[in-house]
């Protein structure tokens, strides 16, 4: 098991549950036992006292009940699929089955490494650094209006900093939620005092020693004493160059999450696979993907003869300004977006996306109970008309005048 985070832990738990009794080694590049990342952009930045990392598995459970040889602070450096050997640092380790879950690394911008106060957020160290900086920072610039950047912005606002988000595309979140709903969600930023500038790229950072300002491509200068760059991640496949395994957007796997090398599986941010639900190859960076793929890869690696395809309706959540945004399904290329509950200007709404005659996705703001129901409908490939029937029956049963279905094409 190469990769000491969520996918790795789930793979191990799953392999043991499947009945694998052989030796398991977990190698993680970070110095920490596996910990959960979502809190790093949320309570980790906002809590009064620095919280401890949230462990993904109790260390005693890992070592004594699951019988895992845990090696921390050791990065995988090479793979020889024919020789069934993986190198951890300089040391070769033979395997009968290998799960690759080496994750991804945040993309950065030129000049980011030469100035203090320009950061990315992925690891515990990153979060501690940003948290400390927020203690004295008054002017945060977030580059990238994605979910991580938006959560950092939200946390910084809670700490009293002024915040500007710079987004290079004309609008935020177009790929995950579509242009219209990206615009609606950006209203949350406006309502909480976060400035959002779209359609302009960062030209360079200014400052000597420490960042002092961000210069945009249109010449605008924005003062900043802290910059968090959230422009995406690249899958950690560099160590696999020369191994011969198929690499594209990440490690390319088949439906069962097996790579082009027999006995080698991949899971999480590093892996692309053909999702039967979507009929397309994808690589998703959601928490649920790492968890579910880790579990599936572990199960399939432990019992290759009984390997099952992994299919999922994508799901993720993001918490902004104390409100939960949830997206289930695939909203890209939708033919229609319809509000079925709440109010797009308000603090709670639920919209459905149609693709041809099917329900394709659901996006909710503070609609937790209903989102579970729509996830269930999505998992059954529910038709648009059945989904709308359900939505209408809910609206009729709910004593909320704002819950009437309206069309917004």
């Amino acid at each position: 098991m190469v990769g000491g985070s969520l996918a790795g832990v789930r793979a191990i738990e799953s392999a043991r549950r499947e009945g694998f009794t052989g030796r398991i080694t977990l190698a993680g590049a970070e110095e920490h036992l596996p910990y959960d990342r979502p809190p790093l952009s949320k309570e980790f930045l906002t809590a009064d006292e620095l919280p401890p990392p949230v462990p993904l598995c109790d260390p005693a459970t890992l070592r004594e009940r699951l019988h895992v040889d845990v090696r921390l602070g050791v990065a995988a450096t090479a793979l020889d699929p024919a020789g069934h050997t993986v190198w951890l640092g300089p040391d070769p380790l033979p395997y009968t089955r290998l799960v690759v879950a080496t994750g991804a690394t945040p993309r950065t911008l030129p000049g980011a490494n030469s100035l203090a106060g320009v950061c990315t957020l992925r690891t515990l160290e990153d979060a501690r650094h940003i948290r400390a900086a927020l203690g004295t920072s008054t002017r945060l610039v977030v580059v990238g209006a994605g979910f991580i950047g938006s959560e950092v912005a939200s946390s910084a606002r809670q700490r009293g900093a002024s915040v500007t988000i710079i987004e290079a595309l004309p609008g935020p979140l177009r790929q995950p939620v579509g242009e219209e709903m990206g615009g609606v969600l950006s209203g949350l930023h406006a309502r909480h005092g976060t400035e959002l500038r779209c359609g302009v790229a960062v030209e360079h950072f200014e400052g000597s020693g420490r960042v002092e300002a961000v210069r945009l491509a249109d010449g605008t200068r924005i003062e900043a004493d802290l910059v968090v760059v959230g422009i995406g991640v690249t899958p950690n496949t560099g160590w696999l160059a020369g191994s011969g395994i198929a690499l594209g957007d990440g490690v390319e796997c088949d439906e069962t999450l097996q790579t082009s090398a027999p006995g080698v599986y991949a899971a999480g941010d590093v892996a692309s696979w053909p999702n039967p639900v979507a009929g397309a190859r994808m690589r998703l960076e959601h928490w649920t993907i790492a968890a579910e793929q880790g579990g599936a890869a572990g199960r399939n690696a432990a019992d290759p003869a009984g390997a099952r395809p992994y299919a999922t309706v994508p799901y993720f959540w993001s918490d902004w300004y104390g409100k939960r945004i949830q997206l289930a399904g695939i909203a890209a290329n939708a033919d229609e977006v319809t509000t079925v509950a709440g109010n797009l200007d308000g603090d709670s709404f639920l919209v459905l996306y149609r693709w041809r005659d099917r329900l394709a996705a659901a996006l909710g703001l503070e609609q937790r109970a209903q989102m579970v129901r729509y996830r269930l409908l999505l998992s059954k490939n529910t038709s648009w008309s059945d989904a709308m029937d359900y939505a209408r029956s809910r609206a009729a049963a709910t004593p909320d005048p704002a819950a009437a279905a309206t069309h917004a094409t």
């Binding site: 503070e366 109970a369 269930l376 998992s379």
Partner: protein
Amino acid sequence: MRINVDTARCSGHGVCQLAAPEVFEVGDDSVVHLLTDHPGDELRSAVEDAVAECPEQALRLEG
């Protein structure tokens, strides 16, 4: 089989409800409610999945 819910950790993701809808339901209060105090043994595997998969680690299985 007894299920313990840490309502302080639960934030209503509903992964449990999807894994074992006979046992778990996220209410309009955005936390999970147990539909039965003592699920039958035939639900053990589904309940174990729910406990293992909760993103907030809010569920515990006793007995």
